[in-house]
Each structure stands twice: as structure tokens, then as C-alpha cells.
């Protein structure tokens, strides 16, 4: 029961930080609020039993993302221009989309329910067999690194491609400018 109360409180704090991110126009403050949001999400993951996801979110989501965003605002400037007119159309779009999504949740099983299709198919196999198949107690690691090892290799390909993309976007122009200044 205590875990459920903590869950409710943490989700309430997430709502406050998300609203703060909308209302602030100082991008430095927005990035800091985003860091708080990611870290709160990581604590929610601990409460919801996803410990591996929690420390990845804390290190990568709250850490690396925040650093990348700070580096960007140091290059492009800190202040957002305030919108000239009231954003009625975005509010309408968001309310309609949100309403449709809420309608979609009405058929979903209650939070924490055990006897739902998603928990009775495939997942029990990994929980029962991974100890004898792979030999380590952490099921998430077994699936990620062994059963689905090729998918993790694919993930590395995505990161590699993104790294090359960033170098291509930011690197080539710098080199050309250096050449021009030499000539």
C-alpha cells in the first residue's frame, strides 16, 4: 500500500514539473526542470519494480540529455521569445488528443492486475527458464544481452548512426571554415 501512495505522490510531482516546463521561458530553467522530471521518472521506475530502467534513466535521461541540452543553449542562447498570441489551436489539439487517449484507457486492465494477457504470455517463460538457460538471476539482463542480443546490437547501430549524423552535421562546416581562414 505504501508503494502505491509513493507512486501517486511521485506522479503528482511529475505533473507539477511538466506544467513548470510549459510556463517557463528561460531555457536554462526549462532544462533544469527537465532534469528534475527525468530523475522523478527514475524514482517512479524504482517504485514500479523496474530497477534497471531506473538507473539507466537517471544516468542517461537525467544526466546525458541534460548535458546535451545545456551545451546546446550555451551555443544558441538562453531566452525563448514569448508567443505574440494566445495558443488556442494547440490547446484544442492537445485536449482532443488527450480525450481520445483517455477514452482508449477505459478498456485497459487496472494498474497492477496480475491476470492480464500481457502477463500470461511469454514473460512467464523468461521468468522460469532464464536461470537455467543463461545462468544469471537478473531476467532483464538475460533478455537484453542474450535472448535478444541481436536487437541490442541493432540498438548500437542506431547510436553509431546518430553519432555519425551529429559529426556530419556539426563537423564538416567547421573544417571548411578552417580551410578558408588558412587560404
Amino acid at each position: 500500500m505504501i508503494a502505491e501512495i509513493i507512486n501517486v505522490v511521485l506522479l503528482g510531482l511529475l505533473v507539477i514539473t511538466a506544467v513548470a516546463a510549459i510556463r517557463l521561458h528561460d531555457l536554462f530553467a526549462v532544462v533544469m526542470v527537465f532534469g528534475i522530471y527525468s530523475f522523478l521518472a527514475a524514482t517512479v521506475f524504482v517504485v514500479l519494480d523496474a530497477v534497471d530502467v531506473a538507473f539507466t534513466e537517471a544516468a542517461v535521461g537525467a544526466g546525458i540529455s541534460t548535458i546535451l541540452m545545456l551545451a546546446t543553449i550555451s551555443l544558441v542562447g538562453r531566452w525563448e521569445r514569448r508567443p505574440a498570441h494566445r495558443p488556442f489551436l494547440p490547446i484544442l489539439v492537445v485536449v482532443v488528443t488527450g480525450g481520445a487517449l483517455v477514452y482508449g484507457t477505459l478498456d485497459m486492465p487496472n494498474f497492477g492486475e496480475q491476470s492480464t494477457p500481457v502477463h500470461e504470455h511469454i514473460a512467464p517463460y523468461y521468468l522460469e527458464q532464464s536461470k537455467s538457460d543463461i545462468g544469471i538471476p537478473n531476467v532483464v539482463t538475460s533478455v537484453l544481452a542474450s535472448y535478444r542480443g541481436y536487437d541490442t546490437l541493432g540498438e548500437l547501430t542506431v547510436i553509431f548512426t546518430a553519432g555519425i549524423g551529429v559529426l556530419g552535421i556539426l563537423g564538416i562546416r567547421r573544417r571548411r571554415e578552417e580551410k578558408n581562414s588558412e587560404g
Binding site: 505533473v15 527537465f34 530502467v53 544558441v76
Partner: protein, 117 residues
Amino acid sequence: MSALGLYNYWIVIFLMMTGFYVVISSGNLVKKIIGLSLFQASVFILYISLGKISNGGPPILREGVELYSNPLPHVLILTAIVVGVSTTALGLSLVVRIKESYGAVEEEEIHRQDESL
């Protein structure tokens, strides 16, 4: 618990919609990408909520624990977090490149410069 049965999903939808709102209402490209990251993080919470089983333990096998939460959403989201950061990095580098070319990261200013060409 039935009163709170769908609470997690509704909060997640609210968080998603705040991220979505930042993306479509803000003219600043950096803030748009922050909105996208907010949206992403809320989707992660949705998946992890789906994997939770009441009174279950974290999916690390040990003596004396019979009920574990579903490990498969955790695996999916671990991958999604890392892929999410690499797309954020790519988006932010595009913003820096736009700043170099246009001298601005506000959408209206960029459109104005495009039209005056």
C-alpha cells in the same frame, strides 16, 4: 485500489499532452526538443506501469520470492531510453546547425528569412 486503477495511465496521458503541447505551441527549436523528451519520458512511464504487478518484486530471481513484475517492458524501455538520447542528440545538433546558418532558433524568424529569399 479500483478508484486508482487507471490513475497511472491518466497521469501519463496528461504528461504526454504537456510534452505534445510544448512541441506544437513553442516557437523555440530547443524547447520543442525538450518537449519531445518530456513526451518520450512519459511513454516510458506508461510501459513500466503496464509491467507492474501488485505485490510483485523486481525481476531479479532470488529465493523466497514467487511473484515478479513483467520484465519485458523493462527490456523494451531500456533500449528506448538509449535510442531516445541519440535522437535527442541528433535533433540538438540540427538546432545548432540552424543557428549557424540563420542566426536564430525561433521558428517565426526562420520562416521570415526563408520568405525574404
